[in-house]
């Protein structure tokens, strides 16, 4: 497997900056290694390949696996959704992941430098990646702030979201809390203190600002020393979520009513396979779940030893990512089932109590089983009183409870906390759960920040003036200040804007350009040769066909679909919380919000053509200068 001239690095050697030029020095490995040690500013490396794999897993396995995949599974045919999901994994996920890792490991630079090497006209791709990563890190850490908030509040007995607070004269509960549930009240009022619409910005919530600052300090601590510190942290952020998921799996499956959820969700509804949205959602989920196009994978892989087998790692990471999604959805569905059964039984009990109080029936005469017969009997026996009672009698249905499909922050912070408050020892489960969310979030944040910092530390102009710690601190500080926008009362609406629009279209374009660049501009044969030199194995025909044809076609179709979808929907709308009704209402975005959305998408996508144009102009000027001199 050793190609001629390559050598294995001596233990303790941490440099590696000379690329593969050393293959010219066959037989002189001792001398070469010693000289390379003399070089200044050698590229830092991961201590062992396991750190790299853990970093990729920690980055790829994020909140999307927990709060997006179960929703998609539920909406698009339950168990049947796994079919398009696995197909997309094979066609799109693994090849694109391998591509990014291979590029990073080969070029040994961050995204800007790597694409510059492939072709100078593509420096815009790297810049676009950095811009998208910057947008993402701005708003993503707010989720960690919320996770911290809930984590800190989990140390109380009873949990603060278990009961509604009392109103001012202590005769009952707060009005807003009465209309909705205590968990929703805690989320919308006590955590976010959300305003009724985007226009009313409100003040910065100091509690959330504190939590955000803490979240950024934690991120700074983890990236302070580059791979030396990140490499240790990812051991924790990658493994702790699995421990918690296993605990929750055991707890979830033993909960009363969990089986209802599992059966309902996993029974395949194969007719959904004919719905194009199913396939598109599967492709989108695989694409965004792996975190392609942000430059984080390139950054992580650039710290690799050149002979690292990134092909194997790409397969491992993508498989682990997908199995984690499925695993997390089993846990989520059992929690759903528990919550739905609990609500259904409370509803039934309320109806029973109401009927017993009104008709003075004996205790135990009405049960869940004979409820419908007794209702008919009472309707016949006392028609007038029953008719009076009718508006208060709710029709309790288990399917209706199970059908409430929730995704995103709603699932993570409302549905789960509602289920947790009904468990025994709820504080322990709450702490575990929010610690898991925190680990998932921080793991992804590390990848995003690495995507921003690696190109910055690659550039000699910046590193000559400032040290790595100062650059990292500066980036974290800027992001923290901008992130304060999301702690305002209308912050959650801005968060939704960033979440929905900052990355979606741009990433598709970036990855499309990446794939075409590697296959057609750099040349697939050339890349194949480079990989053979690096890894020592010939490239399988599967990778080649996927890179050259299948993945670009798939991304183009996704891109066209999203564009047409945006154009056809007309005005964009958002969900606003109405405190008087106690539920979400749909509103239109104001014009300045639409301008911000346009700016978000444009600022990242325009980098690609602008970069090419600037390079073209620069080359033209240089050629003219050279020709005038000559």
């Amino acid at each position: 497997r050793q190609s001629p001239g390559s050598y294995s690095p001596k233990p303790g050697w941490r440099g590696g900056g000379a690329g593969l030029a050393e293959h010219l020095w066959a037989g002189s490995s001792n001398r070469t290694a010693a000289h390379l040690q003399d070089m200044e500013k050698a590229r830092p490396l991961w201590d062992n390949p396991l750190q790299f794999v853990f970093a990729c897993i920690s980055y790829a396995v994020g909140l999307g696996n927990v709060w997006r995949f179960p929703y998609l599974c539920q909406m698009y045919g339950g168990g049947g959704f796994l079919i398009p999901y696995v197909i997309m994994l094979v066609v799109e996920g693994m090849p694109l992941l391998y591509l990014e890792l291979a590029v990073g490991q080969r070029m040994r630079k961050g995204s800007i430098g790597a694409w510059k090497i492939i072709s100078p006209y593509l420096c815009g791709v790297g810049v676009a990646s950095v811009v998208v990563s910057f947008f993402l890190s701005m708003y993503y850490n707010v989720i960690n702030a919320w996770a911290f908030w809930y984590l800190f509040h989990s140390f109380q007995d009873p949990l603060p979201w278990a009961t509604c607070p009392l109103n001012s004269n202590r005769t009952g509960y707060e009005e807003e809390c009465e209309k909705t549930s205590s968990t929703q009240y805690f989320w919308y009022r006590q955590t976010l203190n959300i305003s009724p619409s985007l226009e009313t910005s409100g003040n910065v919530q100091w509690e959330q600002a504190l939590c955000l600052t803490l979240a950024w300090l934690v991120v700074y601590l983890c990236i302070l020393r580059g791979t030396a510190s990140t490499g240790k942290v990812v051991y924790v952020t990658a493994s702790l979520p699995y421990c918690v998921l296993i605990i929750y799996l055991i707890r979830g499956l033993t909960l009363h009513g969990a089986v209802n959820g599992l059966i309902y969700m996993f029974t395949p509804k194969l007719e959904q396979l004919s719905n194009p949205k199913t396939w598109i959602s599967a492709a989108t989920q695989i694409f965004f779940s792996l975190g392609l196009g942000f430059g984080s994978l390139i950054a992580f892989a650039s710290y690799n030893d050149p002979s690292n087998n990134c092909e194997r790692h790409a397969i491992i990471v993508s498989l682990i990512n997908s199995t984690t999604s499925i695993f997390a959805s089993i846990v989520t569905f059992s929690i759903y089932g528990f919550k739905a059964t609990f609500n259904y039984e409370s509803c039934i009990n309320k109806v029973i109590l109401l009927l017993m109080n009104t008709f003075d029936l004996e205790e135990g005469s009405l049960t869940a089983d004979n409820l419908s017969e007794m209702k008919d009997y009472l309707m016949a026996a006392h028609p007038q009183e029953y008719a009076q009672l009718l508006p208060q009698l709710k029709n309790c249905s288990l399917e209706a409870e199970l059908d409430t499909a929730v995704q995103g922050t709603g699932l993570a912070f409302i549905v789960y906390s509602e289920a947790i408050k009904n468990m025994e020892v709820s504080q322990l489960y709450s702490v575990l759960y929010f610690a898991m969310l925190l680990m998932l979030g921080i793991g992804s944040m590390l990848g995003n920040i690495a995507a921003i910092l690696t190109p910055l530390t690659d550039s000699k102009a910046i590193t000559s003036r400032f040290s790595k710690e100062v650059i990292s601190g500066f980036v974290c500080f800027i992001n923290c200040i901008i992130g304060l926008i999301f702690t305002m009362e209308a912050g959650n609406y801005w968060f939704d804007i960033f979440n929905d629009y900052a990355a979606t279209l741009s990433l598709l374009l970036i990855v499309l350009v990446e794939t075409i660049a590697v296959c057609y501009i750099y040349g697939l044969r050339r890349f194949e040769k480079d990989l053979h030199t690096m890894i020592g194995r010939k490239l399988n025909w599967y990778w080649k066909t996927m890179w050259a044809f299948a993945s670009p076609l798939l991304i183009i179709s996704l891109f066209i679909f999203y564009l047409t979808d945006y154009i056809l929907t007309g005005t964009l709308q958002y969900q606003a919380w109405d405190s008087t009704q106690g539920q979400l209402v749909t509103r239109d975005y104001p014009s300045y919000a639409l301008a911000v959305i346009g700016l978000l998408v444009a600022s990242s996508t325009m980098c690609i053509p602008l970069g090419a144009l600037l390079t073209f102009i620069r080359k033209r000027l240089k050629r003219e200068r050279v020709s005038t001199v000559a």
Binding site: K116, F152, T171, L210, R225
Partner: protein, 192 residues
């Protein structure tokens, strides 16, 4: 007043007796008169649900009932005792027309979350300070060593960089690496 309760035990005449006794007890405690007897509490309209109406008469003034507000106040004062006598709670033992004043949850002086936040924050800040300080110390050590090496580097601005098989025209020369192997190697060869 109607008295509703779902029971864990059978409701019979003994339980009714206990109820009358509790009401008499409540009235005695409230009005500090020791005149209320069990016979003053009258139950009527007992249903299977177990719910009934009851009134408290005043034996000092014949056949007059104690006003509802007084009975209400008495029950409110002794709610806890009445509840525990029947192994019930405010939710399961309902006196209509007496709305419960809900007890507010116990609030500690400093909110718990701030304490946890403070602990975590100080740990993180300590970690950052430690890493930054040790980084500055390492920097100072390296600076001393690197002044020796600067001489080597200045000689080594070699333009022949064959970087991974990519010819140099496609690369911007400034982006290439200074290949220290070439630079340092010149020193090792004996001069001709």
């Amino acid at each position: 007043m109607i008295f509703h309760l779902p029971l864990q035990y059978a409701w019979d005449a003994n339980e009714e007796y206990l109820f009358k006794a509790m009401m008499a007890f409540a009235m005695r405690r409230y009005s500090s008169k020791s005149t209320t007897q069990i016979s003053n509490v009258l139950l009527c309209n007992v249903t299977d649900r177990v719910s009934f109406w009851f009134v408290v008469t005043d034996s000092s003034k014949n056949t007059t009932t104690v006003p509802g507000s007084e009975v209400e106040a008495a029950i409110r004062m002794n709610r806890n005792r009445i509840n525990s006598a029947f192994l019930l709670s405010d939710k399961t033992l309902q006196f209509l027309k007496i709305s419960t004043t809900l007890s507010p949850p116990v609030e500690p002086s400093t909110p718990v979350w701030l304490i946890v936040f403070g602990v975590v924050l100080s740990l993180i800040v300590a970690g950052i300070v430690f890493l930054v300080v040790s980084g500055i110390r390492k920097h100072k050590k390296k600076n001393k060593e690197s002044t020796e090496r600067e001489n080597l580097e200045e000689k080594g601005e070699v333009t022949i960089t064959i970087e991974n098989g990519i010819p140099c025209e496609t690369l911007d020369l400034k982006a290439g690496h200074v290949n220290g192997v070439f630079a340092a190697d010149d020193e090792r060869f004996t001069s001709l």
